[in-house]
Amino acid sequence: MNYVALKMLFGDRAKYLMLLCGLTFAVMLIVQQGSIFWGLMIWSQSSVSNLNVPIWVTDPGIAQVDEVKPIAATAVDRVRSVPGVEWAVPLYKGLLRARLSNGDYHQITLTGLESSTLIGRPAEVLEGRFEDVLQPDAVVLDQWAVERMGGPDVIKIGTVFELNDKLARVVAIAKTQKSFTNIPVVYTTYERAIRYVPRERRTLSYVLAKAKDGVPVAEVTKRIHEQTGLGAFTAEDFGWKTIGWVLKNTGIGINFGTTILLGFIVGMAIAGQTFYLFTVENLRQFGALKAMGASTWTLARMILLQAFTVGLTGYGVGIGLATVFGFFTARSGGLPFIETWQLLLLVLVALLAICTFSALISIIKLARLEPAIVFR
């Protein structure tokens, strides 16, 4: 009877297309909004992921990576003295204003890396050599800085600008994950970063560390926290802490959650209503099948097959459309779009719920159907 069910489904082309459009729209909306939401969350913790180090040591009261609370300079040695720590280096991170030669000002995030190792440097360099940051007045920009500060005609290797009235010369352009605030990132050495910023009692933003081989990172972070009283997180935990802060302190979660929920409800409403109409319009036919010996279970299987067939088709088309959208938006870098298998799995579960709900309404109708209807 599967064959009959599918022929019935595809035979009513208008209804089939309406169902398909409804489910495709729902899937596309959920995937698109979900991917953008996740992309924004990834952006929000890009300051952690861009530096790619396993352990972050912070002020114990820190809320998220971009809310820097300076710690004492002695923290580096205290962390180094914790058993299981292979190395620990200082990191400066702070906001500053850059003044270009054309008179434009731009706010930038200054990142100072330990000069002997350059630990925390971006993995990929688009132009120039990152090691040249060791040269006098040298800085490395990320590609978003180039874009935000006037484009490649204004900002290129050799461009000179001022940071707090001190000279900065671009020696390389690095590739990084865009940040949530999209503030240009300027990399330099830790020592030079301290010189760029106004004098403060505490200038150390974070201590970056690594556990010795064979020692669990979580164990080392626990030891650091217990022995130094500082905050110590694995990179993953610090990223999640930042994401959690964004969700709690901004309306992003509610906004995207509402849209995703709307997609789910609209999809369910369209699919449920259309499917119910489809069943009601074919009630006599279903009654005839029942009279001819088709059990309610057979009819239920037919309905479920129809629902899941159109549902999975809509799933494929919806994901395809959302992916094409994501491909173009992500390529231009204008919108965050990160489509994860977890999201796709979640959408599949949501879609199957929609299909089951839609089918169930029809099945209940059919279960109550008296085959005698065919004689009326």
Partner: protein, 244 residues
């Protein structure tokens, strides 16, 4: 037409109805549609259920088919106490032993004529290829071999009813249930359908029950039961002269 016993009545009844009562609604709105029906239908015969509208013809037909619960009485079909069977077993029994022809044909619009005819076989879990082969053979028998791949919308009313007849007979049922098979057709087409029903539907090991109010086809039956106000008023046998 005259009332006398036919040859079939000397055999045991294929369908045996005793004291059938059926009401709809409750309280003041309760309407009793069948008021104690006793009736025997024999293999090899074509019985017409006739009478005024609202007389209970279709209700009785539904009860015989086991698709309507009755309030009281017993229905035996081919020796099986149908009224005592649970709904699931009744459905299975119906699928194996009964064929249905409806006033509005009730063909599935998305399926070709052959596929429509194959549906009862598919319900019985017969493979699609075998079912379609048998469906095409059946369509040949009703004169629609060349229309096997047509969709119902591309067939005339008469042709659609022929497809419905083929569908009703394809699983070789022993009880053929027909509800106003000519009501949606014009006179000549109605006559042709009844000729076809007598030719291919009537068989020594099958009984055919037809509900109709179309007096132009009365002469095709072997017997005619007249229902009035929920009771069988009279049963008449139809002579060869009457058919002629």
């Amino acid at each position: 037409m005259m009332d006398h016993p036919t040859e079939e009545q000397t055999q045991p009844a294929a369908v045996r109805l005793r004291g059938i009562v059926k009401s709809f609604g409750t309280g003041d709105t309760k309407v009793t549609v069948l008021r104690g029906i006793d009736l025997d239908i024999y293999l090899g015969e074509m019985l017409l259920l006739v009478g005024e509208s609202g007389g209970g013809k279709t209700t009785l037909l539904s009860a015989i088919a086991g698709i309507l619960e009755i309030d009281a009485g017993n229905i035996d079909v081919l020796g099986v106490p149908l009224s005592d069977l649970p709904a699931g077993k009744r459905t299975t029994f119906r699928g194996k032993t009964m064929g249905f022809i409806y006033q509005q044909f009730n063909l599935l619009p998305a399926l070709t004529a052959a596929e429509n005819v194959a549906v009862p076989l598919l319900i019985q879990h017969i493979g699609r290829r075998e079912a379609l082969h048998r469906a095409r053979t059946m369509l040949e028998r009703v004169g629609l071999g060349d229309r096997a791949e047509f969709l119902p919308k591309n067939l005339s009313g008469g042709q659609q009813q022929r497809v419905a007849i083929a569908r009703a007979l394809v699983n070789e049922p022993r009880l053929l249930i027909c509800d106003e098979p000519t009501a949606a057709l014009d006179g000549p087409n109605g006559q042709k359908i009844m000729e076809l029903l007598r030719e291919v539907g009537r068989a020594p090991d099958r009984c055919v029950v037809i509900v109709t109010h179309d007096s132009r086809i009365f002469h095709f039956g072997d017997r005619m039961a007249n229902l009035t106000d929920g009771r069988i008023e009279r049963i008449e046998s139809i002579t060869r002269e009457g058919r002629a």
